[in-house]
Symmetry: C2
Subunit: 397 residues, 2 copies
């Protein structure tokens, strides 16, 4: 993992007073010195936040300069005033960084249905623009400025060799629940100095997101703000990547996205287990995804893992209501490598041994095999603990 | 509410050792003295239990005699041996009651993936057949014999007047989670002495279930065993109901099913609130159902209510990922009668007042209005508490 900031990027994260704790940055700027190719993938929620509406109009793009992010307020369900506020965030950031308003993208995450405190945000943008840098410290502040209920920073990076030279790909993400306590969203910002055309960048990003950020859940509540953005400023030199060079970049992109995506349920609110669900033998990937998602979102599967209970009946019955047709007599199931169910019948197993294996490892593996085809998908989720409920029921006015 | 046992029915509930607690009956018999019309509605889970497979073949029917129910073991995911066990339950009960094997229906609820203890069940059937009666006590034992983690019995009944006389409709149900801790399922048995043809009985039952038992959830995990059965033995006399008589019966059936269906989330595991979700102004009932179900199954909506947090953003965003198209600017939302959101913008409201209203009432009302049409649906669910997690993560071997 290489975490350096790619050439031609500067970052900052500052506290402007949206979050109460003055030690927690809540406004982040990511600036490319020159115009960068930009790609974006967004929430599929019909009720989407103002910044999502703004960014959708602006990506893919051949010439974007910056991303401004605030945490602590999602600017969602805020109507026309919310749209005006998002545009104002773009305008203020662009002015502070010597760019045009149309060259800025905007991200927000936090409470839904409250208007942005624009005075704080304006002051934050001014302060952040003054402290832009490309060192480790700037990257750390920037990556902390996008967090909400996360307990750890989520960063990853890779070096990518291509025929014209070598590029850096570095990303930061946030998310601890699809929506945390009064908070919202999964966000990710990827920066690279690799040369990419807008169409290629968009296609590569969408492909990577499909098998990473779209394969995670905490509780399955889809946010109004989910966004993954990538800026590629080409500072590493050379022509836009294609062929084997592009394949090398895509592989690195998928690795970085996997690191960042896994980090979200791994840091899931109150989670005591990261559950990896491998669905195999399906007719197509959509079927595998539907089954994985249904298993991942069953509160009964999640509470069973929290309690170290190898209750495979809950997993099989969740698959059964996923809407995917399959032959129940062809199902095989393993938890942490122990075979528990095969050909529609329970297998004898040492329940204490399997339970200990779940209890003693933070990572839990659920592997389910069907007999319909060869499509497979990996999905990550959390267990469901009393602490999650406490965090999300904890009402503070 | 009239809870008498309809004419021509006898019941019993006994303990046969599937449940550990000897004071809890775990085997119930419901017997009609003469042949009864039978109708059934079953789980849509692709992985369904052996008794569901058996009953599906036997309903609707013009001549059924009895229903045998065991609690504590679901006889699900048990393969061919499970099917043989279900048929054996039917055969033993029929023999004990002087009926044919094909005149018996079978219900099971409890742990998935464990074979039935057939010796206990055989002894239970013999004992139950000897103690069949139609008094209050027999009805009480029978309605307790179908429970698993339920904390209260769920019974309801109505008198129905029709042109040929008067009939009794009495029902019992169980269910505290779609699947409780190692337990499973929602079950309901309805008995009536009203005269009904098989086709009418099936149609009336399906219509009632559609707006009652199919409008509840606890955590949204669909069971392998869900079943609603109705026996109508015609002992009240007269020709099969039709026209206004049938309409009167259908109204009573819907009332009884509403009572029993509401009782399930009301007794939901660990629940501190019964949430009634009214979805209005949709293009069709399927859209209203999809929206209601998505709201009802969002852990973030459920934890918010548990915490008395009028966090309407979670409700609106859940509607947004229900898959139903609607105009976000046309949405209006009320919680416990307080308007919180209208025309895509937050309304000012006294958060402490609304929070107190949620905290101080076990019943919570969520009303959401769309501008797409006139279809409406009422749905019931629970909140999500730390106690639910404790109950379902509590692993006991």
């Amino acid at each position: 993992m290489s975490l350096q900031v790619p050439q031609g990027f500067r970052l900052a994260g500052v506290h402007c007073g949206i979050k109460r704790n003055p030690n927690k940055p809540d406004l982040t700027l990511v600036v490319s010195d020159g115009p960068a190719t930009a790609a974006g993938v967004y929430t599929q929620n019909l009720v989407f936040a103002a910044p999502v509406a703004l960014n959708r109009q602006r990506t893919p793009s051949p010439a974007m300069r910056l991303i401004v992010v605030n945490s602590g307020n999602a600017n969602a369900c805020t109507g026309e005033r919310g749209m005006a506020d998002a545009r104002q965030m773009a305008r203020l950031s662009a002015e502070a960084c010597g760019a045009k308003e149309s060259e800025a993208l905007v991200l927000s995450t936090g409470v839904i249905g409250t208007f942005l405190p624009m005075e704080n945000i304006a002051a934050g943008i001014a302060a952040a623009a003054k402290s832009l840098a490309s060192d480790e410290e700037a990257f750390a502040s920037a990556s902390r400025g996008i967090l909400t209920t996360d307990t750890v920073q989520k960063v990853s990076g890779r070096r990518v060799k291509f025929s014209g030279g070598e590029a850096q790909l570095t990303g930061m993400a946030k998310g601890a629940a699809m929506i945390g306590p009064n908070m919202a969203t999964m966000l990710c910002v990827l920066m690279t100095d690799a040369p990419l055309s807008p169409e290629t960048a968009q296609r590569s990003l969408a492909a990577a997101v499909d098998v990473t950020f779209n394969c995670i859940s905490v509780e399955g509540h889809m946010s109004t703000n989910d966004t993954v953005l990538m800026l590629a400023n080409g500072a590493a030199g050379g022509m836009p990547l294609a062929g084997a060079d592009l394949a090398a970049f895509d592989a690195a992109l998928r690795e970085v996205c996997t690191d960042l995506a896994r980090a979200i349920p791994s840091d899931g609110e109150g989670a005591s287990h990261l559950i990896t669900i491998d669905v195999n033998g399906c007719a197509d990937r959509a079927s595998a995804r539907a089954i994985a998602k249904t298993i991942a979102e069953s509160p009964l599967v999640k509470t069973a893992i929290a309690g170290a209970d190898p209750n495979w009946g809950r997993v099989v019955s969740a698959a059964g209501y996923s809407g995917v047709a399959f032959d129940p007599a062809g199902v095989r199931l393993l938890i942490n490598g122990f075979p528990l169910y095969e050909r529609g019948e329970p297998l004898p197993f040492d329940i204490k041994q399997v339970s200990s294996s779940i209890r003693e490892n933070r990572d839990t593996s659920v592997e389910i095999f069907f007999s319909e085809g060869t499509a497979a998908l990996r999905y990550w989720t959390t267990d469901l603990t009393a602490e999650y409920v406490r965090l999300n029921a904890d009402f503070t006015t």
